[in-house]
Every structure is written in C-alpha cells, then in structure tokens.
Symmetry: D2
Subunit: 345 residues, 4 copies
C-alpha cells in the first residue's frame, strides 16, 4: 500500500502513520519527495485496510498494491476452474449454450421450448420461476408451480436447469429442484443471498450488476467462495451507460479482462445485454470471439405472446440459426460449442 | 399508448394489432402517415402492457402515454405527503436532518455521537447495525448488538432512529427496534425486501440505486406503497457515471424532478453522494437549495478510527458548522431546519 | 410526429397547435384519450422540427416518428455503400485492416512499421502527424514533417494512408498527402471541420465521440454527406462509462445496430477502445464477429519507446498473430480479411 | 511517480527502469514488497511522463503523485483568480449572472431580451451567432449578422457580451466584437481553437465537455493559459450519464471540487445542464449554494417561437423571479449577486 500525504506535510505528520503501520506488524517505508511525502507499507493489505488511512487528515490518497479479491484471483489459483453442472462443464475448451424462456409460463410452453432448444444444441435449460420485475404490477412468475414445471421439462429432455433465486428464504425449495442457482443482476450485491448460496454445494451463475465494476463483481463472487462453494460462473449481461439505443451496453471487453484476473469461468447473456432481437446473433458471435465460456439465450415458442421480455426472445428457428453460427466462430477461436451428449454423460 | 409500425407495413399488418387492442376493451386508433403507420390505444396502459406489443415483428416502437407508477404519482394524489416518524415530519416546510455514524461500533461511540448530533440540531439518529459491504473481508456490522446499542442511544437522547435492513428475514427484530427502516442503494430492487417492509406500518427511507432511473426508483416505492405502507421517504445518494473524482455523481436535479412527479418526500445524502469530506458542507447547502426535504449526514466522534467509510464522516464540530450553514440556506428558500423540540412533541 | 399534451389540457389547448401544424402544410390529427390528449402530424418531420413544439407550455412530450438523419439512412439508400480508398474497399465482403503507430515519430519508425504491417497483411497505414493530446505538455505530433514521412512510407510500401486532421485550416496540406482523412473522436462534433472535409472528394474515417449517441454520430456523418462527399466510413472506438478498468467501454453492439440503420461501412478500433494490449487480440476477433467492416490497429516497432500511447500499441510480431487470428473469425462469419494485392489493383 | 511491477518480477526487471529514471535526472527508489516490487521516482512528473513506463512489459501500473495541470493549479497559485470582463468580475464575492437567448435571431429579439435581462439584474448578455448544432438541417445561427446584432444590443444596454466561437478561423471577427469568447462543450478539446483563444487577450468561458473528467477540463484550460491568456472562467453545464429524464446530469459536486483544485472561477449553466424549464430555478439556487462564481441562464422573449432550445429558455418574467430567488441564496452563503452598476464602472 502506498500512502501519499498532502502537500506541505512534514516528517512529523508522517510519524504517527508509520507508527500505526508498524503496530499492525507490517513494514513501513518513508519516501520524502520534492513536493510531497510518500509512505509505503509492505504486507497483507487486507490488514492495512482496517487502518482506514483514507480518513486521516494529512493523507491525500491511498494506492493499494494488491487486489482485494483473493479466492477468485489467478494469483491464488492460476489454473482456470472448470465448473461442472450435472455433466455440463463451464471453463474448458467446450462452450455450453443455455437457452430457454425469460419466464416459465405453462407446461406446454416450457416443455416445447426445452425440446426445441435441446434439438438445436442447447445443453442446459433456463427459465424464471421467481421473477424480479421493475414494476409490482408486472407478472411476478409462477413461483413454486414454475419450479415444478422446470422439473418436468428436465425429466422430458434430460437438460439440467438453471433458475433465478431472489431471496435466501427460498434456498431450500429452489435448491431442491435446480441444478444451478442464478443470482440476477439486481441481486449481485444482495450479500445475504450470496452467503446463503455460498453455504450450499449447488453451482451458481452470478450475473454482473448493471453498475458493477470488475472489483465489485469479483468481491460478490468472493462472498460465495469464502463460504465454501467454489462453483461460481460469472455472467456479463450489459451495463448502464448513457447509450439508450440498446437495453444495456454489452461490455464484452470485461470477458478477456476477467479471464486474466480470475480463474472462474465467464459467460455472456446477449439477450439482456442488447434487448434487441436482431442483435442477438451478431453479439453472440462476438461474445464467443471475445472468449466467453458460455452463452445464455432467451428462446420462446411465440415471443409475441410471452409474459415478459418478448421483444428480446428468439423463436426456436432463430435459435437454431444462432447455434450453427456461433459454432463456426467457436472453431475459429479453437473452441467448440458443447455437444448435447456431453451434457448427459 | 402509441404504436409505430415499421416502414413498409400495410393496413393488413395493422389489423391484428388493432384487433388485440379491441379485445382488451380499449379503443384502437389507426393513423396512416406518409412513411409509417402509427396506431393508438386509449385506456389503461397497464392493461395494454400485457399485450407485449414490443415483441410483435411489425412494430418498430411503443410510446407509453401514461407513467407506470400509480400510487406515488401526483396524478393520483396531488398534495405532498407529510411522513411522520416518531414526531419528525418529512415533506413539510421544516427540513429534518438525520445524523450519525456509518456503523454502530460501540456503546461509547454511538451514545457520544447521538448526544453530539442532537446538540448540533439533528432530530434523528442514523447508524448501521447490518452493513452491506462490497468485500466479505470488511467489517459487517455488530448486527443484533448494534440494534441494542441504537436503542440505548435513543433512550439517552430521545432521538428516533433509522437503520438499514438488508433481508426480509430481519423484519421482526429490526422492526422491533427501529423507528424507520432504511433500504440501502444496493437493495433498491430487492423486491422481496420491499414487499416485506411494505407489509409493516414502519416508515421507510428508500435510497436510490446507483444506476436507477426515476421510473425504477418510483416503481421500487410502488412495491412498498402497493402493500399498504404509505410512509415512504425517497433518498438521492449519488449515481454511477464516468466521473471518478467523487465517490458517486450527486444527481441533485432529480430532487425537483421527483417533487414534480411524486407526492412523496425526497431527501439527500451528501456523505455517500460525494464521498469527500470537504464537499459535504457545500453539497448539503446545494441539496437544500434544490428543494430537498431532509438530509442524512454521517458523523463520527473520530473519523480516522471509524470501522467503515471514515473518509466521508464529519466530526461533531464540522457537523455543527454544517447545521448553521444549511439553516441559512433553508431560510433563503422559505424553509427551515427542523428544530429538536419538534422531534419530541 | 406525435405530440402528447399535459394532463388537464382541453380541446382549446390543442387548437393552436393543430393550427400551426396545418400552416406548415402538414396534416394534423386529434386523438383525445381518457387521461391525456394526443396530437399527430403527418409529413416531413424536419419541417415540423422548426415549430419547436417542445417549448409550448401545454406540451408534455414530443415523439418523432422519423429519424433525423436522411442521407445516411437505409430508408434513403437501402444497399450498403462500398467506399473505396486508393484500391481498398470498405463495406464489402472483404474486411480491410489498417495498422500503424499512434504517432509518426521518425523516418525509421514509420517506414519500419509500414513494412512490417504490410508484411503481416495490413492494406492501409495509419499514423498521426497532428496529434490532439489531452495535455498541452504532451507530444503534439511532427505536423508537416510527419505528413512528409507518411508520404515516404507510402512510396516505400504502396500502402495508402489515413491520418488525422484537427482543423479546417489544414485541409489543403493534409488533403494533398493523405488518401483518407481521420476525424478523431474529440472532433466528431467540430462541425466546421466536418463541413470542410465534406467539401472535398477525399474519403473520411469518422470516429465516434466518447459520449455520442447513434443519432449524434449519424448526424455528424450527415454534415459531411450533405456537403457532397459520400465517402464516409464510421468507426467505433469506445465510449465513456462508469467502468474504469479499460480505457473506454468498447460498445460493439453499435456495430450491428448501425448496420441496420445506415448503409455506411462501420469499422472498429480495439486499440483505443480497450487501451490494454492483452485485450486487443480478443476484442479484434469480437469486432469482426459482430460485423465490423474493418479494423484499425496501433502497431509500433518498440511500444515502450513510443512518444504516445505506448501501452496499447502492438509489436509487429503481435500484430502478425492478430492478423491470422482475425482472418479465421472473418471466415466464420462469411467474410475475409482484405488481401494486400486487392489494395494495389 | 510510483511504479508497481507485475507479480513475479525480480530486481533484474527493476534495474533498467531505475536506470532510465536516473537518466532523466530524477531520483529512483527501490521498494521490494512481499508480493510485488514497487519503484518510485522523485522529481518533475512531466519529465517522467515522457518515459512512457506504462508501455513497459514488466510494469503493472503507474501512479502519478503530481497533477498534470500546472498553471491552473492552486499549488501554483493559491489565491483565487478574479477575472474581469468589461467591468464584470468573476471569482470574487460577487456572483455575476449572464443571461440571453440561445441564438441571436433578430434585432428586436436580442434588444428586447437584453433590456429585459438587464432590468432583472443580469450584468452580461449571452447569445449565439455561430451555433454548433447536432443536425446539419437545424438553424446554424445568423453568423456575422448575429455578431452585429449583439454589438447593437450592447450599445443599447451597456451590457458586455459573451458569444460562442467555433473555429480558430473566426478569431479576428468574433474577437473584434465580443467581450468574452465562449468555448462550447463540444469544442472543449478542439485544441487548435484553445490555442487560438490563448493567443488573444480576450477572456474565455470554457464549458466542460459532456464526458470530460476534471483533469481533462483543467488541461483544456491549460492549453489557453500556457499560451499566455490567463483569463479563463470554467463552466459546468452537465455531463452524460445513464439518466435520461434530464437533458444532461448536472454535476454540481465538481464546483466545490474544482474550487479546491484550481484558482480559476467556476460558473454554472443550469439551462443546458437540466434542459427542463421548471428545474432551472431550483438548480440555479443549488449552483449558487454549491459555490458557483456565476450563472448563465437562457432567456427568450417568447420561448415557444425560439429557433433553438425553446424548451429550456425562460421568459423575462420567469428570469426576474429567478434573480430574486438566487440573490437570497447568495446571501445565505455570504455572497451576493453582482449588481448592474458594478458592471459599468
């Protein structure tokens, strides 16, 4: 940690800070510059953080040397993690595609969709039973009935499922059904929920919040990892920017950036990131080309009759086209789209 | 609702849409333009929303005419709401100032602070017992012990308290102590939590999320109001923008904008919005001048020893200066800072 | 154009607006709704814009039906434009790659780089002679000497050149040398400069400003097109967002969005968009996969000795790797990287 | 300057960097930490910047200690600058209000407005003759005729004038008329224009760009100052953020932040920052309360007939109300609105 003192500070101002660094058992450094004094502290920065030096009047700025995330850091584990979810592997050479409707709406809708996406090559089924909706007047999901329908669709197709959990209250009954928890973007910093899924053994897809920095995302993952659940898959789904012609701004650059920083797999959700049906195919290709370890795609048998987000859901036919398109790009970057049989080994 | 069809669409494309509008019991309008066909639908837009016309292939764009929030809307209740919390009134001519530390840390710390802020004119005490922290390795709050200490500080000073609730799980024991719930920025769209506080009679301070639009904030309030709890106070605490020299971007313009749109009181939190101690005084003045119905200010007896956010907490002396400064500005806009005796009637 | 009146407005409030629409020679529509009155105007919206209806007290909101850009619109010209620059074609099946240093620094540097990038497959050379730099104390470019060195490098290699123009003052002498003008992101709304290049016959690469919406970018292009120069190539180079771990936020989704909206070619600049050397290869692949009609890549023989932006320039070896990587992705989306011989037909 | 090396770097990796620091005549520091090596360099950071250490492979991060702006820095001149424009002083206890229409449209319009705003207490007249407009099809200003009309309005009222300059080409004829140049937000980084006004003795109002950081704004000012023109007044006019309910996001916090960092005066433009007529009064009050050294307010005799930005221009009556409102706030922060007679001493 580097501590820059305000202009005009003297050695006397530095003394108590150096003292407090020493008290924490770390090695202090004194570096008087021409205009400003700079101090250093060598050792565990997580210990130093407790000193709250930002609040000291003579301190202009603090520069941490180490990153605050630990368990998700490549400096902690250099080798990429492969996270397995009921036979589907995220983080290896193969790239799984998850597909399904925004919301589970009826038996017919979810089973039809499950069969169609399986046929097109998806290896996992998505579908919301508990829906976090901006308005209390919008459809809130079928809840427990939705979970039962997902279970049924899995039995019919063999596809493992991922579904959103919106409260630690639901851990037991959602956990009893799902193969993978989804933590949605709005709950990325619902720390109680993160701790709750961290206390299970069920894999977690953690979606990036619309205003989350890389550090915030990695520290949210850290809440899960530090409770003992190491099966975390990160998901980029778009951020808020001034740009309003797409639903969100798809921040694809964070994919290779995250891959440098963490050993966890990183997947992408072009449906929410763009919110424009015509963009989903080109941006799915782009996500794979950028290095994504998987895709989540919204598919609905009749998007114009969907109870939520109809405008961004693909028809089964469009999804089939997408699958063959992304497979070609995957090969061009020495990967391949996960084959269905892989999912059922 | 206005529906703009894609270029090249014909009357035949419009027909099924007009039909579905009629089926919902609303009046359809057909407006053929020179280049594009425009349709209209007259009636309750919340009914129309269920049509999901955005997902129809021939539709280019949907323009809602009515706002999606209802109970918080000035069109629903024109008169400004005055929300009373244990004798303190938000939304009237008087402007309450809430003050206290970021976190409750010890009996001495919270009681000392409560006395100091009361002496300086604060009419309500803030302090976090449950702390949502970005990192799992940071101090997470004293939890139940913190609640007991807040209770003690209230007994010592008579100041009502506001403290954050981070899970619907804690409703009973936090609700048993606090005079007002705080929903923090990260939980603004934790809809389960919103519904849970909506089911109580305890007033709620709802902080705007760092990426929340005005509609998203008002719809979050709507979750609480629609459950029957009408005591909601909105709080602007800064948004995320590209600008990194302050902790957040203090979006003061939303205060007069919200005051036009909703009858709910709107207060401001300059401590989190700026995150820079020297800016808190000028930006508190600015918030009052912009029409804020209250302020929340972080005060700590020794900021450099605080367990969280020390850099943005004021000393009791600095807070005293702030109080006399904002009182002058309040008078200049025909308001006045709430006097302590008001709080204890 | 749709005009929504404020709640409580009557037919009498609508009358003068309908009258003024009629006076402009357009057809007015009156649509009284349950809660608000909506008006319509059919005809050329660019005429209507001159009415300034936003400023009328009874008007709540204006909804344009047509897009303000005209000559760049696919509704004006549906077929994609192919823009030719000294034998290099942008907008067709082939994808040209432009490469070169941030700044022209010396004869040896620019000639060495030109030879290296040509060898690796670039079909055009970039290099700044006039450098717009954030600080007046930073290297400002070799100016006229830089132009002469670019000319020399072209003679040595046959590669056409693109270089930035920062003032309409320089049109003649920059235009005398360059094959293509670059309008930099900071000058995207320097309208005098846009008009000046619009008055030439020289192709223009127009970079998107860091806070430009799609409409602002297309209207900037419209300044050039409306002066008679139709050879405009748009370039996405990253926008400003809250995200600070990359230099800019690479908004790749705007590429397929622009391709829907305009017939002009759209290329991408991963060097400026990411500002992180390790991200340039994956994000170049992603740009091609998203549908980019070309790439601009910064290459320097010795990045650590560059006079500007060394941290984001590739070495010639890294560039060679990039070229073979993007070529594979191009084939996976039914395109191909432009071959050098194409450039010299 | 602090240089943090990548993990795994050794003393041998540090050696060439330490050497190059020494070669520049600065003092190098070697600080081996537990996990990473940190280097320091003491001396003029503007010299160090030329080393381009960001581009060195072994370097993880560079932390500058000094700010890149020099002449505008309070460390260079601690005392606040008072900038005088034809008798009007910016930066002292008195707060000048500049008012006038967005565009000069006719003799009657500008003279009527000038008289009205003078009567209400404005001490300076604004009005655009050269208008930078997003669309080439929008009104572009009366240009030279507009300048002549401004001159006339000044003669009629005695009010000094400020008008925008959009190209270095116009320096002579705009400079011959105006008392103060305005550099608009879109031209904040038109460095040629900055240099050109820097070469005059005419005061400059420099508006912050919609995506400009504090450093970028101060370095833009530095372009002017370093050419010898010290009469620069900064102006906050709103930034781009995800928030779309106001035209821009009024970043008032930058006012007290700038006042800490620079000795230059800082004024505010609530008309462009909000773009909503009803917000201009409360946000003008807020700007003064935040410490603004002046205001720019758009006033038009008949906003609904304005040729540009009608929706955000006040009527003369509304402006009169605003003037008495802001005067009260100014007194509450120990300032006062500049009186007309001051302007004519």
């Amino acid at each position: 940690m580097i501590i820059i003192l305000k202009k005009g500070c003297s050695e006397a101002d530095a003394a108590p800070i150096l003292e407090s660094i020493k008290e924490k058992g770390l090695e202090p450094l004194y570096m008087p510059g021409e205009e400003k004094i700079v101090l250093g502290a060598i050792g565990d920065e997580r210990v130093l953080a407790s000193l709250q030096l930002e609040a000291v009047d003579t301190v202009e700025r603090i520069v941490p040397i180490l990153k605050p995330h630990k368990l998700s850091n490549r400096e902690f584990q250099n080798e990429s993690s492969e996270i397995e979810v009921a036979g589907v592997v995220f983080g290896g050479k193969q790239v799984p595609v998850i597909a399904g409707p925004c919301s589970v709406e009826s038996e017919e809708q979810i089973v039809t969709t499950a069969r169609a996406v399986k046929k097109a090559g998806a290896v996992m089924l998505r579908g919301g039973a508990y829906k976090p909706r901006t308005s209390p007047y919008a459809f809130q999901g079928l809840e427990k009935e939705g979970l039962a329908l997902l279970d049924l669709a899995r039995k019919e197709t063999g596809l493992p499922i991922v579904t959103e959990i919106i409260s630690e209250h639901d851990i037991d009954h959602v956990g009893a059904v799902t193969d993978m928890f989804q933590i949605g973007a709005r709950n990325m910093q619902n720390f109680r929920l993160l701790k709750a899924v961290g206390n299970t053994k069920i894999p977690v897809m953690l979606k990036r919040g619309p205003a989350a920095s890389m550090a915030e995302l990695l520290l949210a993952a850290e809440y899960i990892l530090s409770k003992g659940n190491s099966k975390v898959v990160l998901c980029e789904r778009g951020i808020k920017s001034f740009f309003g012609d797409t639903r969100n701004t798809f921040d694809l650059s964070i994919i290779p950036l995250l891959k440098k920083e963490t050993h966890l797999p990183v997947i992408a959700d072009p449906s929410h990131a763009t919110g424009v049906r015509d963009l989903i195919m080109p941006m799915s290709r782009a996500a794979i080309a950028a290095g994504a370890d998987g895709l989540v795609i919204e598919v609905h048998p009749e998007p114009s009759k969907a109870l939520s987000d109809g405008f961004q859901q693909l028809t089964p036919d469009q999804f089939e086209d997408l699958m063959s398109a992304v497979d070609r790009v995957a090969h061009a970057v020495d990967r391949e789209i996960s084959a269905p049989q892989i999912a059922k080994k």
